[in-house]
Amino acid sequence: MNVSTDTLIVGSGPGGAMTAALLAEAGVDVVLVEEGEKHPIDARQDHSLAQMDQKWRSGGLTVALGSPKVSYVEGRCLGGASESNAGLYHPPIDAVLDDWATRFGISDFSAEELSPHLDAVVEQIGVSSRPDGFSPASDRLAEGAEAMGWRWTEIQRFWRYPGGDQVGERRSMSETLVPRAVAAGARVLTGTRIDKILRRGRRATAARGTGPDGRPVTIDFKNVVVCAGAVQTPRLLRNSGWTHVGDGLTLNPMVRIVARFPERVNVPAFGVPVVQIEEFKPRLTIGCSYSAPPHLAMWLEGTAGELRRSLEDWERMAVFYVKACGQGSGSVRTTPVFGDALVRYRVAQHDYDVMGGGLVKLAQALLAAGATEVHSPLTGAPPLTSAAQAEQLATVLSPKTASFSAIHLHSTVRMGAEAAGCGADSHGRLHGAENVYVNDSSLLPTSPGVNPQGTILAVARRNTLRWLDER
């Protein structure tokens, strides 16, 4: 199949969908390519085994190699990760944005300058609080924070609750920006994987890949915007000869623990819990996770019989997490022979210290909120029942014992001055290329320390409007 377009956009997650919508609405001929398929938003239950298979790359089993390894997830469907993540909206921290501008030489970039783009994201996509309060597990976390004298907040979501409906509607990309792009004339190719961008010197001319029927696809373009996420974007660019990208990977390593309460705290109808402890951000985030029985069981120990006994009162248990604003660093390369992305990451000692201290804080808060026991993440360790015992958690994480996961990956094509080691300029144009742009989480120079979807959307909007001005 051969296709021609003005602008090819690779990847339909938040960055790609925002780019496609704005360009198409400005009259640009756009082709939006997505490797995964289009699935109805409610095709599978959120956070279920089936949803993992359907909407995440490799069924959610992707790993950054290192000691310890860090498991992470990437969306792989129309709309990308926005189709299956928690959809939490947290505005970026002003000091972090200003630090990015200074350290990486990003022009026209500050908290003030990003503010109208954030406002537009909130207004156009839709961000809401639950109409009927938090889940009981979130309430316990908030109570614990107050007992410890710490600030906490409700994190809003890319969600809406028409008529006070409890379940609500996810405001994912396939429900918002992709339909906007299509309505403005964008063509969407799903099930299509781009393997290489063909170039003539500094100028890219076409993209080559595979269509849904397994046949080769070639797409000729004037401009290409790569928005395939912090792993697939550098993989594609490196495969195409731009080998200055792929270093500097940042992520937020996370550890989960289970706490048991004397009363019911786990109500799946509330969906994702939305309370986070603010006191230690951006260095450390403490929150509550989705806690259906299969999720609880992953963080407990025992045979099926023992787990079932533990889970007989699963409604009194919930999963909580600590997440560090990672100070480690990693890289993305291509695996020889297999051709997949090879992701490596080294967890910094600082992150062990932050997360160990965070586990102590979390356990103390939960116990202060009435938890009867907190399960240590250390295999074989007995549950903790007092604040004094919780101190043990400070040292449970080590390269040999830790089991980290990460949801947010960034910084593999940082924006900023070339001299500062950035892969793209201040508005996402790839250094060393005339007509290749990046517009996704890869651009964020470091981990933002908060849920990044709002920041990614706002930065993508900022960059796209700039490109339109330059046309």
Binding site: L61, P294, A297, L311
Partner: protein, 113 residues
């Protein structure tokens, strides 16, 4: 190598007990499918580890893991979960965590397909 018998043994050894039935076959089938969907290097590494683990049973206990008794299978799992080599521990941890997640998801009504 057919990995399903090894994965089935791991699911049994990690989860089964006399008290409650566990959907061992369906859980193992889902895990095998998940391994097959892993990125290439991970898939290759996991298959090599499962192969080594299977033959480790012969060296330590006289029979390959897949054909060992449940008691011996548990012993081999215990030994590998304490191995100084990280990937060996990771392989056991993967089957423990994903095994319980899949088994409980299936019991909760999710379809193995």
């Amino acid at each position: 190598m057919h990995i399903e018998p090894v994965v089935r043994g791991l699911v049994s050894g990690l989860l089964a007990d006399g008290e409650h039935p566990v959907p061992v076959d369906d859980t193992a089938a889902v895990l095998v499918r998940k391994i097959d969907n892993m990125p290439g290097l991970m898939r290759f590494g996991m298959r090599v580890l499962l192969w080594a683990f299977d033959w480790y049973g012969l060296i330590r206990g006289g029979r390959r893991f897949r054909g060992s008794s449940l008691v011996k299978q548990r012993k081999r799992i215990e030994e590998w979960s304490r191995m100084p080599v990280g990937p060996c521990r990771d392989m056991i941890e993967f089957h423990r965590k994903m095994g319980v997640f899949v088994a409980l998801s299936l019991e909760g009504g999710e379809h193995p397909g």
